[in-house]
């Protein structure tokens, strides 16, 4: 075999390999279609489908808040600190927002449906602005809602057979287009928090 022949074979092998790689990645072959490129809009993918039951016993899903600005907050009633504080603060903010607050739907989604029954939530929520809706669901429904808002929760057993919950702490803002519009930080000045809510409801 002459050196030239070896070179020719090697060249064709190289071409074949290159072509194979190109075909494999180009999506020409069936079943190798290009993975759909994520189109960056600068808006986080938060706010998917969820279906839960309100503290008044009504089915409440993502369709109920379609076209409306809303707030989502995850918590549980066996929480002595951050959860009631957030609910009291939201109550205060709703009253400070005035009539524009009617356009806003704050949702308090329990991550502890085992202990937070609908009856308990119905009684619990009487302490807060009646436009705040407490929501609970089955374990699967709860998981779906947590996932829809890219949130997190975890059941943590504690000594004595009881348990507590770790959970996403912030209040998620969703605009009327159903897009994520930031979070509320209750450590910020009250005026800043109120300004965010006013912008959200277009007041």
């Amino acid at each position: 075999m002459s050196e030239l022949k070896i070179f020719r074979i090697a060249a064709w092998v190289a071409v074949a390999i290159a072509a194979g790689i190109w075909i494999g990645f180009s999506g020409i072959l069936p079943g190798t279609g290009r993975v759909q490129q994520a189109v960056s809009t600068g808006i986080a993918a938060i706010g998917g489908r969820f279906e839960l039951t309100s503290h008044r016993g009504e089915t409440f899903n993502n369709a109920k808040v379609a076209g409306k600005p809303y707030l989502v907050f995850f918590g549980f009633t066996h929480c002595p600190d951050i959860c009631p504080t957030t609910l009291f603060e939201l109550t205060d903010l709703m009253s400070k927002l005035g009539p524009a607050a009617d356009r806003l739907t704050p949702l308090f989604i329990t991550v502890d449906p085992e202990r937070d029954t609908q009856e308990l939530l119905a009684s619990y929520m009487t302490s807060f602005d009646d436009r705040i809706i407490a929501l609970r669901g089955s374990q699967a429904q709860t998981d779906a809602a947590v996932k829809a808002f890219a949130a997190y929760y975890r059941k943590v057993p504690i000594e004595g057979g009881s348990y507590t919950m770790d959970h996403t702490a912030g209040v998620i803002l969703m605009n009327a287009e159903g897009q994520f519009a930031g979070t509320l930080d209750m450590h910020e000045a009250r005026e800043t928090v109120l300004a965010k809510l006013k912008r959200l409801v277009g007041a």
Partner: protein, 164 residues
Amino acid sequence: MTLLKTTLVVLVVFIAFAAPSIAHDYTAGNIQIGHPWSRPTPPSAKVAGGYVKLTNAGSEPDRLIAIASPIASRTEIHGSVVENGVASMRPLDGAGIDPGATVAFEAERLHFMFIEPNRQLRNGERFPATLVFEKAGRVHVEFMVQMRTSAPAAEDHSGHGGSQ
């Protein structure tokens, strides 16, 4: 006698109505206990939170090891944090107070958890509790039930080093 009675009634009424608006402090040995307070609870709430500021004026470390209240079936000392946006709390077996230090029980740091309160706590009320320190011993205090928010302007943060 009647005058004394009237004076006492006036005094009791005055204390009952005027006291909730002012800070209240206690001392146990070298430990100063500043303004124990709790938030009003929603009906059906199975827990209530409590806060206090503990200052060790002595030269030896001390430790809060327990708390009890007749309004709760059990009261725990909890550490609480918000880390990477996730809130969590865990029971602690106490809270150490170094000489000269102040330990503030406050949101996202430390709180008492009154478990299964026997009634709804209402704004302006007080309820009794006993704090137990390793060295300073037992001290009876009253928690004031009051509405407070974490809004910076609404809280008095003087004296604990501006931790927030």
